[in-house]
């Protein structure tokens, strides 16, 4: 596996708006992430973390610079090609859970498979497996309104996992949760990382960042510092959620 890195950002800039109102949110981000890494992205509010995640998630395109994903130049792809990339390799857990309202947990989790053209039977099987993984199988028929915040976030993770993605992108997955629920989620992400999924997660909390193997610090639209080879899972080994 000595091929190209999974993710390579080279001189990424992103400018919102035009003319006098133009605002440069990213000012030349360089970052390389290898397969199997567990990355925590940290930084002050407005430093460009979400903007970077959206670009990494192929939801947005950089104004300039190069983004290579599995060796593919993403900035050259069309909108639909990026959608295809998303549905094939990426799982996204958004800031705020973003589940479909009035739709059961199971159907929410099935959604990405629907767009992959999977049969109803396979959709259901995979969605149930995914819900089981996050410990929510008994809640499969509940709508988001009937679930707690932590449960909703776990449904969102189940949805991101259902397609067996290479990369799981999570923008503040614990932002709306109390510490105990947050730790549960982190435990879950750690377990997933152990199965080989590369995880990129934005967080404001040191406590959560300690689960990661790599911490990327953002400041003013630039990567300020990268800490690699951290002893991940300091909290995870405490045995609370085995």
């Amino acid at each position: 596996m000595s091929e190209a890195p999974l993710i390579e950002l080279e001189g990424i800039t992103k400018t919102f708006g035009e003319g006098a109102a133009a605002f440069q949110a990213l000012k030349g981000v360089n970052l390389t992430i290898d397969r199997g890494d567990f990355v925590a992205v940290m930084g002050p509010s407005g430093s460009g973390k979400s903007t970077t995640m959206n670009i990494l998630g192929c939801l947005d395109t950089p104004t300039s610079g190069r983004f290579r994903f599995r060796g593919v130049e993403v900035q050259d792809l069309s909108r639909d090609q990026r959608s295809l990339l998303r549905r094939r390799y990426l799982g996204f857990v958004f800031q705020g859970f973003n589940l479909l309202a009035r739709t059961s947990a199971l159907e929410n989790v099935e959604l990405p498979l629907l767009y992959r053209g999977e049969s109803k039977k396979r959709r259901k099987e995979a969605a149930e497996r995914s819900l089981d993984l996050v410990g929510l199988l008994p809640w499969a028929d509940h709508t988001p309104a009937e679930l707690s915040g932590g449960q909703q976030q776990r449904v969102a993770i189940a949805r991101a996992l259902v397609t067996d993605p290479d990369v799981l992108l999570a923008d503040e997955p614990t932002g709306n949760l109390d510490t105990e629920r947050s730790l549960e989620i982190m435990q879950l992400l750690t377990d997933l990382n152990k199965t080989g999924i590369t995880i990129l997660m934005v967080t404001h909390e040191e406590e959560m960042a300690h689960f990661a193997k790599t911490i990327v610090h953002f400041r003013d639209g630039l990567v300020e510092r990268v800490e690699r080879g951290l002893k991940a899972g300091a909290f995870a080994t405490s045995g609370e959620h085995v």
């Binding site: 998630g57 639909d80 998303r86 973003n98 479909l100």
Partner: protein, 402 residues
Amino acid sequence: MLGMIGATFLLALREIRRHLLRSFLTTLGIIIGVAAVITMVTLGQGLTADVQEEVSGLGSDVFIVFPQQSDPNIAPAPFDDADIRAVENQIAGVEGTAGSVSTNATAFHNGQDWATSVEGADSEFFATQSIDVIEGRGFNQEEEARGESVCIVGPKIVEEIFVADEVIGEQMRVGNVSCQVVGVIDERANSVGGGDANDVIFMPLKTVQRRFIGNADNVQFFIVKYDPAYETAVIQQQLIDLLRERRVIQDGEDNDFNIVDTAEINETVNTITGTMTLVVTVIAAISLLVGGIGIMNIMLVSVTERTREIGIRLAIGALAREVRLQFLTEAVVLCCFGGLIGILLALGLSVLLAGAIDLPFIFNPTVNILSFVFSAVMGIVFGYYPAHRASRLDPIDALRHE
């Protein structure tokens, strides 16, 4: 892809059910438009069929000629046998003629009596009018030439004064005339004279002329059957010219007779129903256009309301065309429901109205299927722009939408 369409369809149904009242009100324009068109076409067909049946009771490819004065106070001169023979012999394209007289009389049999009409008619008359003798026989030439006292009765007469008795061969009295029943005719919808076509006693023309009217020559009207290969208008003009000459009508004077062309009646009715259908179609088209704009409007509202949902779908990997398909399906399903309700409404209305104005109800599958297909097409036409808008949304903006 098939699973995708199935899932999209179910989703559309769920979305419509979620806003049932709104969906119903939205499709009202389509419902009314479709119902109006189908009802009108159905009733128009019923009317046409009704008139055609009446006209066919008068015989096809025939003129009915009767005296008629433009001034109702002057009695026009009747036609007589000589006129009829002249028409038959002198005008090319005339295949046959048949005169008729009728009067009222009371029929007696076996202690029963019944007031009815007596019509003088020979076998040619039976032929041009397509009157079928279903029991016994028609008149023979001898009976017609000598004016014998034989009669053929309508089903109503059998019912009223013969009851369960034997009919053929029985003697009955009609007015002052005693006659022998030789035949019974089939049920008929209409007769030239109007009135109940089944409540009638036929006798040979001569018999009625002599014994009931007291004039051996005059007829009240006569029928001219023509070869449809000839130009109708030409024959009609020749007929008018001949009769004017025989009745010595000066140039500039009005005809003192009238000619009814059964083909012309058909045409008139077709024109009338055609015009009515056109008017209703225009009204329906306006209703459908308004309905279509309503669909477009509500779909745009729906897209705005569900921006976040669209964002989620796009972010999860839905392609633009898949989002477009979803909203297009919703619009089409909505319109199809409208069409379906319109069809059912039209069915109810047509049956009710047809009953109320005494027309036959004729179900027309073509117009129903076309209406349904048209509704679906409306869904595509008016749903396309909102669906396109939905598919063009930026996933990040859409996700941020509250």
